[in-house]
């Protein structure tokens, strides 16, 4: 046994106590959050850290926040010193260049003192509906971060247990939706306090010494495991590149380039070859680029183990300051996740040849956001519907990709029920269905995207769109086909029909129809090798049309008769 006095059972029980504490923090946040983006879409993340900012327990939220809450406590400590931590304090911050993410993501954190000694930190991040950007929710075409809302470095919002009214007022005053912001702030503070109480209780129960021994053993186990798994990958240098369509302000594609080097039990993901930061809002801070690489690493290396402070030790990430993945002031970051979804898929692609069982074809790739804002004629109040859309996922060895599933950065986010949508907003949905043939063909077929069609039931409104990955639609692996890219059509079949992917403030009037279509996932293996029963099932279900069955899968007319 590694730690002498500590038995393996106690280590397990301490591990479970850390996870349970993080889960309880998460439950507090979700239960008390005000806006659906947090409680329904789970756009949040929590972590319990030790005094050295290492993760003791982390709980579900967005995968893209993996392992970067600790950056916030570290930065705060660098700025205000180790002595700056006071019992009962809670801080918040959202600066994109520090946290890596967009200004809507507010991170709250507080120190945990046990018997007067700094013992750890509790932290959580949640997406706020509005932080006072130039457009509701956040702009589609910002060119500087100053257009994206209020920007905060570490700011004390609770001082020795008392919430600062002046800071709360400042935050509420800078949001179009002031009381939801105050409500979500309250939820985040409650979450941090839960973490503080739980860690105190854990230290009291097990004693500092046992706890630290257990923590060290947990970290060591995770590190050992990951080193073994990385060592099993053949050494080499692996490349992949792809582009997102544009930065929202021009038609220029934006390139993300990935070089993965595996040497023994170490892996380096280098993204320095990616494009320079761009004028439009597709840049992200370094912290988020690192998180995205960690997500990709985790998908391939160690998906089952909950992340802790021992995770990612074999992984280094190289980011170039000034590139779109290492954005600096004043480059805009509102859509920071768009290149990250691609980056994750590219790491998988780079390693597919050496990890053919773990890899999968690319997924539809981005959140595919539609925003509809206007005034609800039923009550005269402004409304704002902002929704991501599900799409198709890549196939893998032994299985088709999934049809209609949320994109990789979004985790367990749920779609908005039509019955709730029609009640809350003056909209009508006329179709929500699978988009046939949109998945890449293959021995294992890529998943299909969806069609979601809205009709306006109000006189005036504005349309916002952020649909992506038309220039690099989901690719297949090992002979699998490429998927159909996304498309949005305004008023299909009418004289004023328009097709678009990104849009800001397009005026709409009553009866206008917006037909959104998301892309599919990439196929795996050659379509001609597809099992004929699987193909007939697809045809029967309407996932694959007879035409594609004939032209791509090579089904002959005779077989089709059967």
């Amino acid at each position: 046994m590694a730690t002498g006095t500590l038995d393996p059972i106690t280590t397990e029980i301490v591990r479970s106590a850390f996870t349970a504490a993080a889960d309880e923090m998460n439950a507090t946040l979700i239960r008390s959050a005000y806006t659906p983006i947090i409680y329904e879409m789970k756009d949040c993340s929590v972590a319990l850290l030790d005094a050295e900012h290492r993760v003791l327990g982390q709980s579900a939220g967005l995968p893209i926040f993996l392992g970067n809450l600790e950056i916030c406590t570290r930065i705060c400590e660098e700025m205000y010193g180790r002595d700056g931590w006071e019992p009962g304090d809670v801080w918040i911050m959202n600066d994109s260049y520090m946290t890596g993410t967009h200004l809507n993501d507010m991170t709250a954190f507080g120190p945990i003192f046990v018997d007067g000694e700094l013992t750890g930190f509790a932290a959580c991040r949640a997406h706020w509906l509005d932080v006072g950007a130039k457009d509701p929710g956040g702009p589609m075409d910002s060119t500087e971060i100053y257009q994206e809302g209020i920007r905060l470095g570490p700011l004390k919002v609770v001082e020795r247990g008392r919430q600062r009214r002046d800071v709360t007022d400042l935050l509420a005053r800078n949001s179009r939706f002031g009381y939801p912001a105050a409500g979500d702030l309250g939820a985040q503070i409650a979450c941090v306090r839960t973490g503080q109480r739980r860690l105190e209780a854990i230290v009291e129960k097990y004693g500092r010494e046992t706890l630290e021994a257990a923590r060290d053993e947990i970290f060591a186990q995770t590190e050992r495991l990951e080193r073994t798994l990385v060592a099993a990958i053949p050494d080499g240098v692996y490349h992949a590149q792809g582009c997102i369509d544009d930065d929202g302000t021009s038609d220029e594609p934006v390139w993300v380039r990935v070089v993965v080097t595996v040497a023994g039990e170490e892996m380096t993901i280098d993204v320095t070859g990616s494009d320079d930061a761009r004028r439009g809002p597709i840049n992200c801070g370094e912290a988020q680029a690192i998180s995205a690489c960690r997500v990709a690493y985790k998908l391939l290396i160690n998906p089952d183990n909950p992340p802790d402070g021992g995770a990612f030790r074999p992984l280094s990430v190289n980011v170039r300051p000034g590139s779109l993945l290492g954005a600096e002031e004043p480059y805009p970051c509102q859509w920071y996740f768009t290149p990250l979804g691609l980056l994750i898929d590219l790491v998988v692609k780079a390693l597919a040849d050496v990890l053919p069982e773990q890899a999968a074809g690319a997924s539809y790739g981005d959140s595919m956001i539609i925003g509809l804002a206007g005034v609800d004629p039923r009550n005269g109040r402004p409304f704002f519907d902002l929704e991501p859309t599900v799409g198709g996922w890549g196939a893998w060895q032994g299985s088709d990709g999934e049809d209609g599933l949320i994109n990789n950065v979004n985790g367990s986010l749920k779609d908005l029920p039509i019955e709730v949508l029609e009640t809350k907003f003056p909209l009508r949905m006329t179709e929500y269905s699978f988009r046939a043939d949109s998945g890449g063909a293959g021995r294992w077929r890529g998943g299909n995207g969806v069609i979601r069609e809205y009709t306006m039931d109000c006189d005036q409104a504005e349309l916002f769109l952020w649909f992506e990955r038309a220039k690099t639609p989901a690719w297949g692996l090992f002979g699998g086909g490429t998927a159909t890219p996304p498309a949005v059509v305004l008023n299909p079949g009418h004289g004023d029909q328009r097709t678009m992917l990104k849009a800001s403030r397009v005026p709409l009037s009553r009866g206008d129809v917006i037909r959104t279509m998301t892309g599919g996932g990439g196929g795996y293996g050659s379509p001609t090798e597809r099992d004929s029963d699987a193909l007939s099932r697809d045809i029967r279900a309407g996932h694959v049309t007879a035409d594609v069955a004939r032209t791509i899968y090579g089904l002959n007319a005779e077989e089709q008769q059967q």
Binding site: I9, T28, P63, V295, P303, S412, K414, D415, P417, Y432
Partner: protein
């Protein structure tokens, strides 16, 4: 159904109330005979093998085997896993779905979420109706129930022809906004019945009046999927009982802790989905009332699973936010029926201990079941289970295993524990302690999920533990959670059956309807309430239940405008004037703050109703145990060494549970043994026996 009238009951010498519970392995019978002259109450139990797929055979078998005269049973409450089994084993029937034009994929898109989000190979739960059997009809309602465009039924005959041709045996109907207005669903339902009178068909509004189309469609589909099976089962069961002379009342235990008639249950059998577990929690609430404990954490530890639920202020929590097969790894399937709010984990006496590739010890969720069972059964089981660890530590008496019915095979216990110990670098005893500690830890986490994670402090609650394994672990779990008191009910191993016999006829109605809480909106809420109550009364009166017997409780589901989570607040009787509306809002703020730790200065809206209708159907009257004056010494058996894991090895006093009498008390370390359970009393605990024979353990 033949009813036994009051005179007949009075004329017989005793009242017999029986309960049968069909479990995964065994079908249990418990009956209580209350002697009219002495008031004495006897408990009789019997067991038979469960007999899938014809579960009713096991029930009839256990009745015959018990020696009870079926004709003398006054009432029989029946709990069954027939519905959950059919779903879990995918043994329902081929089902077709009819839905609104444009939305046949709602069932398969589900909510599009990916809970196992580091899994590149995540697989969504497969829909219970394949795409080629999901069909659409034209016609549309708006969210307020008004008609946007009329329903078109002309395509229905072709759909039904297809369904017949494809071998469909059940049809689910779910149309958009039918929770607000079921007119279109009713029309489709009627038309389907005309076109195909023999087919089993259900429309979503018959089960739930709540919004969210995916959840409601899933509910209707799962109900249709099991309907023919459940109907056949219930018909055979009641027929078989009648043939054997049963003339009493047969009630089916529902997931909302109530019972209902066979006829009503056959219409919407999905309400039986948690038929078994619910009654234990109801029992815990009833027991709490009996012994003056209104805040209870109830824990049921069986052979394969442990289930827990929180009871606050004497009320079992009933919600319609129920999912099956949902986990960290899977989105699961929603079923919008009233179900007791419970958490279930794969952790019981038969749970298997194993060491993973990285040297970590786990217990469960795999179970050794009844065959081969724990290694100690000596039936070829080679895996070490929690029960084996408890035997190795002397917590279970190796000489009185399973009430003396099975000789504990201690050699196989050692053989099973050996490899675990080896992998962990521990000796066998340390490994056994490890298994018990991990098992306890898993159960503590489940108890935290229903308490701490929902804003309740377990220290404000009493732990009521039952099922075969409840008494074994309860005191350790309570200590871990800082709780002060544990109660192990008398006959804890059949406590669920006791709960069944304490149940009322109960129906929960959840209705979504957004109403603003402006001072003049009282009439609108009152009208909605009237609609719900009248609907319930009509239903009851159609079944011959008089309105005088029915009592109603009514709750508004309120929330801050546009927020997701609603909180239930009781709606007072009488007119809802402006003042009453204000009171309603005030009580919402209070309830909200209690649950979510803060309140907001924000508008409040009314999202719907929860109406509970219940009628007493002749509950069991618990009676006090007789005191013979037996001395505590006479209940003792020889002391033995018991390993209390982290608390060390102690010489424990051993008591025969069946001999304990009200008023007796003793300190731990001790063990109370009955034929069905073992109660472990830790050093520093104090045990007392109450008037009803329940064991109260006070922690220091």
């Amino acid at each position: 159904m033949t009813k036994m009238n009051n005179e007949q009951v009075a004329a017989s010498a005793a009242t017999i109330r029986a309960a049968t519970d069909v479990g995964g392995t065994f079908t249990d019978l418990v009956y209580f005979v209350t002697d009219h002259s002495t008031g004495e109450q006897r408990v009789v139990t019997a067991k038979a093998n469960t007999t899938p797929p014809d579960f009713e055979r096991g029930v009839l078998e256990v009745l015959m085997r018990s020696g009870i005269r079926i004709g003398e049973i006054n009432s029989l409450a029946h709990g069954t896993t027939v519905v959950i089994n059919a779903i879990a084993e995918r043994k329902g029937v081929l089902t077709g779905l009819i839905t609104t034009r444009g939305f046949r994929d709602s069932l398969e898109i589900a909510r599009g979420n990916r809970p196992d989000f580091f899994n590149l190979h995540y697989v969504k739960p497969e829909p219970f109706v394949p795409r080629y059997l999901r069909r659409e009809v034209e016609g549309r309602l708006a969210q307020d129930g008004s008609e946007r465009w009329p329903l078109q039924l002309d395509e229905l005959p072709a759909i039904i022809d297809d369904f017949r041709h494809e071998g469909v045996q059940a049809i689910a109907i779910c149309l958009l906004h039918s929770y607000a207005n079921p007119a279109h669903e009713r029309a489709v339902l009627e038309h389907v019945r005309n076109l195909w009178p023999e087919v089993s068909v259900v429309a979503s509004h018959q089960i739930t009046r709540e919004w969210r189309e995916y959840e409601r469609t899933s509910t209707a589909v799962l109900s249709a999927y099991v309907q023919p099976i459940a109907e056949r089962y219930l018909t055979r069961l009641s027929g078989g009982m009648r043939e054997r002379g049963f003339g009493g009342q047969l009630y089916i235990v529902q997931s909302n802790c109530g019972v209902d008639s066979v006829e009503k249950t056959s219409e919407v059998p999905i309400t039986m989905v948690e038929s078994g577990p619910a009654s234990g929690f109801w029992g815990a609430a009833e027991l709490g009332r009996l012994i003056g404990e209104s805040n209870v954490l109830a824990l049921d530890i069986g052979g394969t699973t442990a289930k827990c639920s929180l009871i606050e202020g004497g009320q079992v929590k009933i919600t319609s936010d129920y999912w099956i097969e949902r986990s960290r790894l899977s989105a699961g399937y929603p079923i919008l029926v009233p179900v007791v709010d419970l958490v279930e984990i794969g952790q019981g006496g038969g749970s298997i201990a194993w060491v993973d590739d990285f040297g970590k010890l786990h217990v469960g969720p795999q179970s050794a079941g009844a065959l081969p069972g724990p290694a100690a059964y000596g039936r070829g089981g080679t895996a070490a289970t929690t029960t084996d660890a408890n035997l190795a530590l002397g917590r279970i008496d190796r000489d009185y295993f399973c009430g003396g019915e099975i000789e504990a095979d201690m050699d196989s216990v050692e053989r099973a524990l050996g490899p675990i110990a080896g992998r962990l670098g521990l000796d066998i005893t340390e490994a056994a302690r490890g298994i018990v500690r991990i098992a306890n830890n898993n159960m503590v986490n489940a108890l935290k999920l229903v308490s701490l994670n929902r804003g309740y402090d377990p220290r404000d609650f009493t732990l009521v533990a039952f099922g075969g394994g409840g008494g074994m672990h309860a005191a350790a779990l309570a200590a871990e959670l800082g709780m002060r008191k544990v109660v192990i009910p008398r006959a804890a191993e059949v406590f669920s059956a006791w709960g069944m016999l304490m149940s009322d006829l109960r129906r929960d109605y959840f209705i979504t309807r957004l109403v603003s809480l402006a001072p003049d909106q009282g009439a609108a809420i009152r009208a909605l309430l009237r609609e719900a109550v009248d609907g319930a009364l009509t239903q009851f009166s159609d079944e011959g239940i008089e309105p005088e017997r029915i009592s109603f409780r009514q709750y508004g589901r309120l929330r801050y405008e546009n927020q997701e989570h609603s909180v239930e607040v009781p709606i007072p009787d009488g007119q809802l004037h402006a003042v009453a509306i204000k009171d309603l809002i005030d009580s919402f703020h209070q309830a909200y703050e209690r649950e979510y730790t803060y309140r907001l200065d924000a508008p409040v809206e009314f999202v719907g109703l929860h109406v509970v209708a219940s009628a007493e159907v002749g509950k069991l009257e618990p009676t006090r145990l007789a005191v013979t004056g037996r001395s505590l010494e006479d209940t003792r058996r020889p002391n033995r060494l018991v390993d209390y894991a982290t608390e060390g090895i102690h010489e424990a006093a051993i008591y025969t549970g069946e001999l304990l009498e009200p008023g007796m008390s003793f300190p731990g370390p001790a063990v109370v043994e009955t034929k069905g359970t073992t109660v472990v009393v830790h050093p520093g605990n104090e045990l007392t026996v109450d008037d009803y024979g329940n064991l109260h353990i006070t922690l220091s």
